[in-house]
């Protein structure tokens, strides 16, 4: 919501574009992939397909980007994906990178935590950027791609599955038409129309506690450090989170009291009074403008299967996660990047249809991992009962004198989910004593001229240490690194070791002593194992 007198898209810092409905041909060929929803997840899916040479139609029922800043924390793993898609420059330029968080209990700082970072990492652990810019920067690339046809003001109103294709009924201001696609990616958000049309429902739990999230614009002198205020004077018994965003915008999340009416809390005067209390508490004495606000409650909801025939669900249409793990947007981006290369490989007949069945175990597994961690964070941020509250307060109070208790207040930091249990992931080579394991995301290393991640290919990449024998495999990029030195150490490698990296930057297999036969078989297994079970 926005203050009285300002329109829904009347932002203090962002000009929303207006997109006209498409002028479309009277008849058209079926498209390989239709993506429903041109938010961050849908656009990442479209860019991933385009990177692999695939055409898609991208539908969205709105005439502009999503309203409000919404998701603001982009993780390192998402930056690697954006880098892989060739669009990271604008994000780096605008966003605010950060590594530190501070927790306060009744006004006293009890903990400062640093997320893992080092000179070997190209990207910082986290970046803050308003969602409108995330969408705007992705859109710049989408609009330029000859392979992506975006259709705004286009609502999916019907869905019919047939062998080999899906027919979407699409309504736009010029009328209704049928769009045929081989595959559909549903990135149409928490209230997904595609999910409803498929007769599917999210399942799971709603947690205690509601938060108002408010953005204010103010000149406030504090570094980009996430602050968590537990039991602050401004909201006794509650929790407040404060994040810095670009353009002098600050995100204030504050918990509503038990029994506090959401309707009342969402009134502009209530939001102003609450924000004003928080700002006084953090010592902000200057003026401030209210930009936008919304309400949020912690849910852990997901689909039983992210695949429904020829339809794949990605992002909020497949899962709703609590905000505390900052995994909503980031997992959505990873979903899109994961399903993108797999659909491309199947359409190009490089892999069997069953490759697509690895999408649910990998990405639903990632959601369940978030649930496990976020449930702990949520219980700490928003204790569901007296027992949880008293122990939370005891831990916070003890943290004033014992560092160990402060660790209980450390939000579970996001590390990318490992696909160790995926059917695509090879059993580990027992010869390794260290290094990232198969299923994990690739580990970046600073090289003499840039970073290892800069040298990864768009398809599969083999990281070869020393000079192992390599197969002559079309589409396989090879990064040759010395068998001694920092990179070899990070990867636990010796002369002849190799890592096989998937297009989505996860490790498919590794060998202490690689051979062209082992590598060829592993590639075949990732792609053709799918064929066997098809």
């Amino acid at each position: 919501m926005r203050p009285a007198g300002r329109g829904e898209l009347d932002s203090l810092y962002f000009d929303y574009p207006h997109f006209d409905p498409p002028s479309r041909p009277a008849s058209e060929e079926p498209c390989p992939v239709a993506i429903v929803g041109a938010g961050p997840v849908g656009m990442v899916a479209a860019l991933t397909l385009a990177q692999h040479g695939l055409r898609c139609v991208l539908l969205d029922n709105k005439a502009t980007f999503n309203d409000g800043s919404r998701a603001i924390c982009i993780s390192r793993s998402s930056f690697h994906i954006l880098d892989q898609l060739g669009v990271v420059a604008r994000f780096l330029d605008k966003s605010l990178g950060w590594t530190l968080g501070r927790s306060f209990f009744r006004g006293r700082q009890i903990l400062e935590f640093a997320m893992p970072d080092s000179a070997n990492e190209k990207f910082r652990p986290m970046y803050n950027l308003h969602q409108q810019y995330i969408e705007a920067f992705l859109w710049e690339a989408v609009a330029q791609s000859p392979l992506i046809e975006a259709r705004w003001q286009s609502e999916v109103v019907a869905l019919e599955a047939a062998p080999g294709q899906v027919t979407l009924g699409v309504q736009d201001p010029n009328g209704r038409y049928d769009l045929q696609a081989q595959w559909v990616i549903a990135a149409d958000g928490a209230r997904s129309a595609v999910r409803r049309l498929c007769g599917l429902r999210l399942k799971g739990d709603n947690h205690e506690g509601r938060y108002v999230i408010a953005d204010v614009q103010m000149a406030h002198d504090y570094p980009t450090i996430r602050r968590a205020l537990f039991d602050p004077a401004s909201r006794p018994g509650g929790t407040v989170l404060i994040h810095r965003q670009p353009d002098d915008i600050w995100r204030i999340d504050y918990q509503l009291h038990e029994g506090e009416s959401v309707e009342e809390a969402m009134r502009e005067e209530s939001v102003r009074a609450s924000v004003s209390g928080v700002l006084r508490e953090i010592g902000h004495e200057g003026g401030w403008d209210l930009e936008w606000w919304s309400v949020y409650s912690a849910n852990t909801l997901l689909l039983d299967d992210y695949r429904h025939g020829r339809v794949f669900f990605a992002g909020d249409s497949a899962h709703i996660v609590p905000i505390f793990g900052v995994r909503g947007l980031n997992n959505g981006i990873a979903d899109a990047h994961n399903i993108g290369w797999k659909i491309a490989a199947v359409i190009k007949d490089q892999a069997g249809d069953a490759l697509l069945d690895s999408y649910t175990p990998e990405r639903r597994g990632a959601t369940l991992d978030v649930f496990a961690n976020a449930t702990k964070s949520t219980r700490f941020m928003t204790p569901p009962s007296h027992g949880w509250r008293i122990m939370r307060d005891a831990a916070l109070s003890l943290a004033l004198t014992r560092e160990s208790a402060g660790a209980l207040a450390n939000p579970r930091q996001m590390t990318p989910y490992s696909y160790a249990d995926s059917p695509l992931t090879a059993a580990d080579d027992e010869g390794f004593a260290s290094g990232p394991v198969p299923g994990a995301m690739v580990q970046d290393v600073a090289l003499a001229d840039g970073y290892l991640s800069d040298r990864l290919g768009k398809d599969f990449t083999l990281i070869a240490f020393g000079a192992p024998a390599l197969p002559d495999q079309p589409g396989l990029s090879v990064v040759s690194l010395p068998s001694t030195g920092a990179a070899a150490e990070t990867y636990g490698a010796q002369e002849g070791s190799a890592y096989l990296i998937r297009p989505d930057l996860h490790i498919a297999a590794r060998w202490r002593q690689a051979s062209s036969e082992k590598i060829r078989k592993a590639l075949e297994s990732v792609m053709a194992q799918a064929r066997k079970t098809a």
């Binding site: 122990m391 307060d393 109070s397 003890l398 014992r402």
Partner: protein, 67 residues
């Protein structure tokens, strides 16, 4: 631990609980428990003590109970 040492702790706890203002005592006891089990550094023994102390509590409404 000697009888004398236990007496000393018993008295210190009684005085500490009295010295803490109303409304803060439960927090104090929870914090104390957390600090003590961490110092104990023995998960099975800590879990056993947590269960042990749940037994034999004064019935609600009986003398000495606040509820």
């Amino acid at each position: 631990m000697t009888q004398q040492e236990l007496e000393t702790i018993y008295e210190a706890l009684a005085k500490a609980i009295d010295a803490i203002e109303d409304g803060q005592r439960e927090l104090y006891l929870a914090k104390l428990a957390l600090a003590l089990v961490e110092t104990l550094d023995d998960l099975p023994r800590a879990m056993a003590v947590i269960e042990e102390c749940r037994t034999g509590l004064v019935e609600p409404g009986a003398a000495g109970s606040k509820k």
